[in-house]
């Protein structure tokens, strides 16, 4: 008989395919289209840096983030410019909560996210705060796997998929409204609103 009482026993996470009456896509429905392929970030060595135009630059470990912040869950669909889409239950922490600790300077107007693979993207700060944008660490009730952006993926609601940066390692507050991320500097819209084309500014 299997002994389930051991402390080292951990139940395997099983992804949800339905949430509050909504049918969800699978975490296997994504297409791999990142700039350097899947990144494998060490949970133990991971540190998220919040820097730039802030009064309090700081680093947090993965566990500190997961244990210290309130989490929220939302079902949001990611629309990729390639034509596919996935409806996922995202669970994560509000970026705004991270900014509160950082104490953002008044001259900052842009938030830039950097990823482990060198990818980056930016938003006006108001977009992040007004829409309660989250950095997800779970999708469909499963810890985000490395292929999908472990430890954190930005859930950039109402924006094209290239704004949903994966493998986030640092957040920089800036006053450079003209900053352009990886795809944006190659011609994609910096605004990336879903109701507009991804080449329209």
């Amino acid at each position: 008989m299997i002994d389930f009482s051991g402390n080292d026993f951990e139940l395997e996470e099983v992804e949800l395919r339905e949430y509050q009456g909504e049918t969800l896509s699978s975490i296997y429905d994504f297409r791999e289209n990142s700039i350097k392929g899947p990144q494998y970030v060490s949970r133990e060595k991971y540190k998220l840096t919040v820097t730039g135009l802030v009064n309090n630059t700081y680093n947090l470990t993965y566990n500190q983030i997961i244990d210290s912040f309130h989490t929220s869950k939302r079902v949001i669909t990611l629309f990729c410019v390639e034509g596919w889409e996935v409806k996922i239950l995202w669970e994560g922490i509000k970026v705004e909560d991270l900014l509160e600790i950082a104490d953002v300077k008044p001259e900052a107007n842009t938030i830039i996210f950097y990823a482990y693979d060198g990818y980056s993207t930016s938003f006006p700060i108001e977009y992040i705060t007004d829409n309660d944008i989250i950095m997800a660490y779970k999708m469909n009730n499963v810890t985000i796997p490395p292929e999908r952006g472990f430890p954190f993926q930005l859930v950039a609601e109402s924006k094209w998929g290239y704004k949903w940066i994966k493998w986030i390692t640092s957040i920089e507050l800036s006053d450079d409204e003209n900053y352009r991320g990886y795809w944006e500097s190659r011609g994609y819209s910096n605004n990336a609103d879903l109701d507009k084309g991804f080449f329209d500014e």
């Binding site: 289209n33 700039i35 392929g37 390639e82 795809w183 190659r186 011609g187 080449f199």
Partner: protein, 76 residues
């Protein structure tokens, strides 16, 4: 107007369009490979733009290709 030349242009033009359409399609979905092969010339955004622009000409060339072939067969 030389109908033979027009027909030939349409047929070959369609072939070229199809090939470019397929390559730019891969330039979107397999952009890392295509960018490397083309030494960065055919990036994902460029592939996207060319691919989108080609839809209309492709439909026109396909229509003309079918029409001219049908007309030629009917004549024979």
């Amino acid at each position: 107007m030389d109908i033979k030349l027009v027909r030939k242009t349409i047929h070959w033009g369609l072939l070229v369009l199809i090939i470019v359409f397929i390559i730019t399609g891969f330039g979107i979905t397999r952009y890392r490979i295509i960018e490397t092969i083309t030494f960065g010339l055919l990036s994902k955004p460029i592939s996207f733009q060319i691919h989108s622009y080609l839809v209309f000409p492709l439909v026109i060339f396909l229509y003309l290709h079918v029409y001219l072939t049908w007309k030629k067969k009917r004549k024979n």
